[in-house]
Structure formats: structure tokens, C-alpha cells
């Protein structure tokens, strides 16, 4: 038993059994919810994800983040939102132009990587159009998503994975 003494000469004893009980329960709970999934991702502090009952787990880190203040591509701010809207100066042909430019670079990089990895014996002649994950604040309206998706479409991304919060941790 641990004990602590004061100036008065009285000694206090600390009962460690309840603390050990708490520790054991906490360790058991944390070990059960511990995930070894390599795609662990910290959600941007400036956004809240919408809830969803989807059964599909996140499989890649989001490249596009639309938080309450700005749009980030690979953690680099490309557009600062004006009252939750894309400034008119950043819109071209209905799409967010800085997002298009950044996604075009990613698409080019992906294409080069696909060329290197492609099996010459394979019949596949052309790389499939790309997929990209979007993390967006739930209070934004569809207009922003539409403009971001349009920028993606122009950069040859046609499948979008919308990041959502699942009610229970599995």
C-alpha cells in the first residue's frame, strides 16, 4: 500500500484496488477498439462530417477537404471560402478553377504511376478514369460539392467517395 505523510505526522493510505479495476476496464475497452488499419485519418478540425449508415469503410486518405473556411487539396489550401461560398473569381465554367488545376496535377501523377506499373502483356489499353475521396463539412450546401465535382470531372475524376461518420466504431 502506498502511503503519504504530512507535517502533522498522520499517514494516509491509498487503496489501489479500485484504480486497478478502472485501469483494467479501460485497457480492455481500448484494446477491443484498437484498429491496426493503416488508413487511419484525423478528420479536419474545422469541419463536422455527416452521419451515415454506410457499410463501406474508408479505404484511402481524402485528397479534397472542404472545411468551413477553405478548400484544401492534399493538405494545401487552394481556395478560401467567402461566407461558405466559392468566390466568383475562382469559378470558371462552373467549376472551382484552383481545384481543377490541383486535381489535374494529381491525375497526371496517377497516370504516370499507372504507366510504370502497367503490365505490358495486359490488354488494358487506357487507364480507367480516376477515383477521389472528398471530406466535407455537413453544413455546406450542394453547390460547393457540385462545383468541386465538376472540377474533378474536368480533370478526369468521375468516381467520388464522400467521407462520412459511421455511428459505431467497428
Amino acid at each position: 500500500m502506498a502511503s503519504a505523510g504530512g507535517d502533522s505526522g498522520e499517514s494516509l493510505s491509498l487503496n489501489l484496488t479500485p484504480m486497478l479495476d478502472i485501469f483494467s476496464i479501460l485497457v480492455t475497452f481500448l484494446l477491443m477498439s484498437y484498429s491496426t488499419d493503416p488508413t487511419n485519418h484525423d478528420v479536419d478540425a474545422n469541419l463536422e462530417l455527416p452521419d451515415s449508415v454506410t457499410l463501406v469503410n474508408m479505404d484511402e486518405i481524402p485528397s479534397i477537404v472542404v472545411n468551413r473556411k477553405e478548400i484544401l487539396i492534399n493538405n494545401k489550401s487552394v481556395v478560401v471560402l467567402d461566407n461558405g461560398k466559392v468566390p466568383a473569381s475562382d469559378i470558371q465554367q462552373g467549376a472551382v478553377f484552383p481545384v481543377y488545376k490541383a486535381l489535374l496535377e494529381i491525375a497526371e501523377t496517377n497516370k504516370k504511376a499507372a504507366e510504370v506499373l502497367r503490365n505490358p502483356a495486359s490488354d488494358e489499353k487506357k487507364a480507367k478514369p480516376g477515383e477521389i475521396t472528398i471530406e466535407m463539412d455537413k453544413k455546406h450546401n450542394f453547390e460547393i460539392l457540385r462545383r468541386v465535382m465538376l472540377a474533378g470531372q474536368q480533370a478526369e475524376f468521375i468516381t467520388f467517395k464522400l467521407l462520412v461518420a459511421k455511428p459505431g466504431v467497428d
Partner: protein
């Protein structure tokens, strides 16, 4: 005392690395133009399902592409109860026309992202409490693929409003 030290260290490590929020994805597609030839043989008469989402309403329009067209339109409010009714009706449509696994969704600009995801969930995800789909397995189909097919209500969701 070493036992408590180990517990403290383990607790700290696990608390720091714990993921308290489960992350998932909802996959959608957008229309795109391709100049490659369409290798799939299109059926002469197929069912097309369109869903319009605005701030207060969800409108489902289903019709066949050839006579008899049998067009049907149903309106729902954006309340949780009505979204549940919308989901149940979609299950009935899917069972009635099992060969159609595609939905085209048109969303108004003012609709909140939160609301959009809620409706997409109702379109795509089959909940454990829902009755199983009565989709016949295609001949020679991979059983794993068939199982995945059964876990989605409508697998392909195309956001039709994302177009120039």
C-alpha cells in the same frame, strides 16, 4: 508497482492512438463523355429511375424506356419518417425490376450536404432490418460479387446535376 506502470503506459498509448470516430464512404459517380465504343449491349426496354432532391421534397420518377412506358412519380417530404418510406418504396422498385441497379440523382444547389448524404444512404444502403432483395443470380457470376450485390439497394448512383 511495475504492474501499475505498465498499465499507465498502455493506457496512454491506447488513448493517444484510439479512433473514436468510425469513418466510411458513400461512393457516387458523375456523368462523363467518352469516345470509346460502348461494348455493352443495351436492352431494348429498360427501366430508368430518377430522383430529384430539393430543400423540402424528394421526387422519385420511374419509367420504362419503351412502350408501355408506365411512368410513375412519388413525392416525399425530407423528414426522417418520409425518408424511411422512400427507402421502403425503393426496395419494392428494386425487387420489381431487379436488372436495374442504377439511379440518377438530381440535387438542387441549396440542399445541405448532410441532407444529401441521408438521401444517398436511403438509396444505396440496405439496412440489416430490411427484407432481403430477391435478385436472381446471373449465370456464372462470382459468389463474392453476388454477395456484395445483395448488400446494396442501388449500387450505382450517378449525380446527374454535375454536368456543364
Amino acid at each position: 508497482m511495475p504492474f501499475i506502470d505498465i498499465f499507465s503506459m498502455l493506457n496512454t498509448f491506447l488513448l493517444v492512438s484510439a479512433a473514436f470516430l468510425g469513418l466510411g464512404i458513400v461512393e457516387v459517380q458523375i456523368p462523363f463523355l467518352s469516345n470509346s465504343p460502348d461494348l455493352k449491349e443495351q436492352p431494348q426496354r429498360s427501366y430508368s429511375l430518377r430522383i430529384d432532391i430539393n430543400e423540402n421534397e424528394i421526387i422519385t420518377t420511374g419509367q420504362w424506356t419503351a412502350e408501355p412506358i408506365e411512368k410513375s412519380e412519388t413525392k416525399y417530404q425530407t423528414t426522417d419518417a418520409d425518408i424511411a418510406r422512400f427507402h421502403t418504396d425503393l426496395i419494392a422498385i428494386r425487387n420489381k425490376v431487379p436488372e436495374n441497379d442504377k439511379v440518377t440523382v438530381y440535387i438542387e444547389d441549396k440542399v445541405l450536404y448532410e441532407q444529401t448524404v441521408k438521401v444517398l444512404d436511403a438509396i444505396k444502403t440496405l439496412n440489416p432490418k430490411d427484407p432481403p432483395l430477391t435478385i436472381p443470380a446471373t449465370a456464372g457470376e462470382d459468389p463474392a460479387k453476388a454477395k456484395i450485390k445483395q448488400s446494396y439497394l442501388f449500387d450505382k448512383v450517378v449525380i446527374g446535376s454535375v454536368i456543364l
